[in-house]
Each structure stands twice: as structure tokens, then as C-alpha cells.
Amino acid sequence: MRVADLKTMAEQESAALAVFRARLLVCYSAPCLAAGADAVREALEKEVAGRGLAADVQLVSTGCLGPCSRGPMVTVSQPGQADAVYEKVTPETAVAILDHHASQGPPADGFRMSPENPFLTRQMRVALANCGLIDPERIEDYIARGGYGGLAHALHELDPSEVCFEIKHSGLRGRGGGGYPTGLKWNLVRKAPGAKKYVVANGDEGDPGAYMDRTLMESDPHRVLEGMAIAGYAVGAEQGFIYVRGEYPVAAQRLDKAIKAAERLGLLGSRVLESNFNFRIDIRIGAGAFVCGEETALMASIMGLRGQPVPRPPYPAQKGLWGCPTLINNVETFGNVPDIVSKGSDWYAASGTPKCRGTKVFALCGQVENTGLVEVPMGMTLREIVYDLGGGIPGGRAFKAVQTGGPSGGCIPASHLDTPVDYEGLQQLGSIMGSGGFIVMDDRSCMVDVARFFMEFCLDESCGKCVPCRAGTVQMHRILTRITQGKAGPDDLEKLEALCEMVRDSSLCGLGQAAPNPVLSTLRWFRDEYEAHIHEKRCPAGVCRLTPSEGGER
């Protein structure tokens, strides 16, 4: 395929779509399926066939649209009109929707999400731009929306250093949570000496309560592949690996299909878009180890070893897979790349904050009215995310904390809800942006119990290589358990804090270094809850069952 063919294909595909009076996009992601999206699609199929509308109405199964608590979702796209989004669609209302849009029936407004709903209007979708709007299994859908245009532009208009410059200039930073400037990393790998180099997409999304990478891989797989190919060109790699979390079989299947489709069209493989650039992508399936989100552990896993990290430096950019320079970026980071290259770094850098450009995807979960995936410009405040997009706390209960960054992050209290979200802002509050988990908790969540929960997670996921993490998490967990059971002694809090600091400073890799974060941040903002458990044998949130024991038994 040549660049011209790509353009022709996009035009033809758009023209083919334009003949439909209405396109009904049924969200076919797991939450909507669990809510009955299958039956909705079946009802629509039957109606469309029964009424002989097949030439006028197109039915598409898409990836995730985002407002997951409101599924099943159906989006109606009509030429010349704004998309209409319908929520909690049943087979019956699906028919009403079809009636309205295809047969000029009465409006189905009762089920329509208001176009003014902040959940729709306040987002800025870059990485998620296509999610919920295309059939992830059709490469043509992606191409029709400008897909692979960034790769074509890079290959034929820019040299590798210019691509790196664009990425650097865009201000994009690692979306896996580290926040390392992406362009800088690309340049390091580009300049690293080595005949063979690798590009790795980290899709081992292990933070509980985070699913943006899954959504992106499932709903718009080509975007990730295109980002990787651009990276391959920029750093001089011919081989890419995408490491998909084992819990995400659908993502792996879609990526596999997408790679084959792209290879068939000459968008991956040898002589991509008839240039001299060759790029292959292989999938590696994770096997259930959170630590493999850490880049050196991930590389060990790709090489078929136990997923244990090794001390850095040397960094993967110098010495990565099989000793070769290796670029590792998160899936979401790659998801931003095609648009930066095709629309220009200035366009991207125009959004966000001076230090953190662009957008970030968050998985809004927990005790919040609207749960789901949102992509917002950096710098939006926590309050806006919780109350405007999230619609506030259900049942009129009080907001208590938002947990960001998963087991490596922390809890942020109500007093800091007006903090703008970016890497540094959250770090100052003792949390991290992380991969984008965003869990809202109301007054019924016990902060000590939450800290204990995350510590249990970390001790379970510790690889066991270094002592502070392997043995320290066990002891921290024991102390936290004692506190939540009402069996803690007065010196336990001091012991816990000392352990937290030691494990944070001494552990070999990011997992151990960040494991104390949930404890340290809750101690910082909710120390009174710890003290109530220890001294008054009382759980303020009413979660812990405290059974104080006499004497020294533990």
C-alpha cells in the first residue's frame, strides 16, 4: 500500500458510510454486554432486517464508549447531525430509537443522554477518540477516521530525529504513571548504539481499578499499533512487542486480528507504506504478575523468565531486551502518538498545563454516580472530575477521599479537591497519577482498611527478590491487620511508619518503593482514623470488626 492508497481507502470508506441514513453504534464492551447489549443488538438486527432497512441503517458493534455505569449504550450517528447517545437501552427502547432515527418516529428523548451532560462535553478525547465509534475489528473503520495517517506522515515527511522532536515538543509524558518525558526517552533509544533495537508497549495494566489500557487495546487496537510503528521508525527498531495483561483475552484477540489486517495492507511488516522501514509487532501475553508492569520485570517476562526486576541503571534505553536498546512506553502513551504526528505537536501542546501537556484517561470508579472512562485535559481539578463528570456521590453521602494510582498511589482528602490533576500536583499530595485509576470513596470507607487492602495486594505481588519489599510488606500488612482488628499496641504506628520509609527508600524496584504510599498518604490525611483504631478500638467508618484482646497475644 502506498500513501495515496491509504487516502483513497479513507475516502472510499467515508463515502460508503455516508450512504447510511443512520449508523447505530452498539457498545459491545464487557460492562454493556453484562448489562444486556447482546439482546439490544439482536433486537435491532431483527428490526432492521424485518423492515428491510439494511441499505439505510448500519449496525456496528463498537468498543467501549466510556459511561460504563449507564449501559447498554447505543450511539446514533447521522450525516450532518451531532451524534445522539442513548443510555440504559433495552431491546424495546432500541426499537424506539430505530423508529426515531430511521423512520422519523417520535424522539426517544427519555433515554437519550443530554448532549449537555458534562460527561460528554467536558472530555477531550485524543487516545480515546475512536473508542465506541468504530468497529475495532475493521481496519477500514480506523483508516476512515484518518488512521495510519500519522505513520504515513512520519515515514514520508519526517526523518527519525524530527519525529522524536515532534514528540518532545508536544510535551507528552509517560502515561503509565512515571511521567517521564516521552520524547526524551525516544531520543535516548534513537541515539543508543546498537544494530538491533526494540519497541515495547506496556499493556500489563495491573492497578486494580484501572482499565484504560484494556479499553484502548480492545476498542481501538490500530491506534496503539500505529503509535508503536511510529516509535519504531523514530528510534530505529524493526521489532515491537505488545505485552498484554493475561486477564485481557479480548484485547489480545483484537490486537492479533489488527496486526494481521495491518500486515495485509502493508501498514506493518516489510517495507511499510512502500518505504524502507520494516516493522513487526508480536504479542506477548502476561501470566498474572503485577510486578511485570515494572519495565525491567516486563522485559524479563518477554524473554520467558520469572518477572523479576533488575536494578537500574542501566536503563532499558541502553540495555533492554536481549541486551539491546529498548523503548518501553505505556499503551496509552502510544495511543497519543498518531495524533501528535498527524495533527502536529503544537496542537497537542495547546491542551493541558505548562508542565503536563495533553490529556489523561481516568477510570472513574467507586462511590460515584457515573462510573466509566473519561479523558480530560491535564489540569482539570479533582472536584470537576468527581462532581461534574462523575456526577457526585450517590445517595447524598459525603465524599471522603479519592484514591489515585492504585497500589502505588495514595488517598487524597476532600480538602484538596481543588487540586489540578497533573503528575506533580498529585505527587505533592502524597499520591501519584499512576496509570489513571480514580476511585472515589465515601464516608463508609475506612482508610486504614483501604491501606491494609493495598498492602495485601503488594505483599501478594512482591516478586520476592529484594528483602525490604518481600519481608517488609508482610510486616507492614501484619501491623495494619492488627490495627484494623483492634489489637495494635501504642508503638505499632511508629513501627509502621519507620517500615514504610525504609521500604520506600530501599526497595529494588518501583513496586516496593511505592508499596508504602497508600499507608503514608492515609497516615498523612487520615491519621485520626488510625489513632481511633489503636487507642479507642473504634473504626470511625464502621468497616472494621475490632476485637481487642487482653494481654500480648497477636
Binding site: 495491573g206 492497578d207 486494580p208 481499578g209 493475561g246 498474572g288 520469572r306 492504585g406 493495598f454
Partner: protein, 171 residues
């Protein structure tokens, strides 16, 4: 147990499932770094990674058995014991935990007399805990025999798992 290097023709006990393992081995050109991929496909084929299978893979890839065992036990996805006829995976991701998935686990453990991560003595039911299945808007979430169930309570879970296990007994 034979000690010759296995060839595609020398399947232990003539078990035809080894053909599928061989196919995976060939696809990865017997590369040692494909161990995890081969283990994935082996487990898919056999349901679990038994000793004979691990030995077979180790020999085919010319890897030390202890290394293969070390890798197979490092990753939670791999299981060295057969699973129950039915399985119930309870998601214990943060969103599910905050929405009290712990109570669901307790209810299951109490009702079926099995600790999470284990299989009942009669081999009927395996209960396991997942570290976030990435469907947080459905919290608390379970997967019973492959079916995703959202917004669960201890009662609704027990009803569903009882039905899944009971169905078998009624037949």
C-alpha cells in the same frame, strides 16, 4: 518417564494433546524465551500444568526443569493442579473491594467449605480471587464458569454458584 529428548513423534503415552503443544513449540521455533507462551498454550490444552507436561516442555526447550518450574510458579495464571469442574472468580480490585467484594468471598468460603484459591474436595468448585478484571463499573464483579456477573451481593452470588454447581448434580 523417558529421558530421551522428546520429538514430535514421541508423545508421552501417545496423548494426542501433546500435538498441540508441539505446534506451539514449532511456532516459536523452540526458542527458550518463548517459555511463557508455550506454557500458556500447554495450560490451555491440558487445563493445568502437570509434572509430565512441564518435563516435556523443559526438554523440548532444553531448559533446566527447575527454571521451568520457577517460571510456572511465579505467575498466578499458571496452575499446577487440576481446577474444579466449575469455577467462580471473584474480582477483588479496588472498586470491587470498596463495594465489599470481601463479603462475597466470605460467603462463598462459608457455604462451600473452600478457601479462596482452592478447589472443593469433591473437585466440583474452584473459588479464586482476581486482582481486578478491569470491569470496575460492574463492581462487585464475578465470573462464574466464564459468565461475567456484575453488581453482586453475597446472596445473589450464592444463588448463582449454587445453581451452577447444582445443575451438574441434577443431571
Amino acid at each position: 518417564m523417558s529421558i530421551e529428548t522428546p520429538t514430535p513423534e514421541s508423545h508421552p503415552g501417545g496423548d494426542p494433546r501433546y500435538k498441540l503443544v508441539d505446534r506451539a513449540l514449532k511456532r516459536f521455533q523452540y526458542r527458550q524465551d518463548a517459555l511463557i507462551e508455550v506454557l500458556h498454550l500447554s495450560q490451555e490444552t491440558f487445563g493445568y500444568l502437570g509434572e509430565a507436561l512441564l518435563t516435556y516442555v523443559a526438554r523440548a526447550l532444553k531448559l533446566p526443569p527447575s527454571h521451568v518450574y520457577g517460571v510456572a510458579t511465579f505467575y498466578h495464571f499458571f496452575t499446577l493442579k487440576p481446577k474444579g469442574e466449575h469455577n467462580c472468580i471473584v474480582c477483588m480490585g479496588t472498586a470491587c473491594y470498596v463495594k465489599r467484594a470481601g463479603e462475597v468471598v466470605e460467603a462463598l468460603e462459608g457455604e462451600f467449605g473452600v478457601k479462596a484459591g482452592h478447589t472443593t474436595e469433591d473437585g466440583k468448585l474452584s473459588v479464586s480471587i482476581a486482582r481486578c478484571l478491569g470491569n470496575c463499573s460492574l463492581a462487585p464483579l464475578l465470573v462464574v464458569d466464564g459468565e461475567v456477573l456484575g453488581h453482586e451481593t453475597p446472596e445473589s452470588t450464592l444463588a448463582k454458584v449454587r445453581a451452577a454447581v447444582g445443575k451438574e448434580q441434577a443431571e
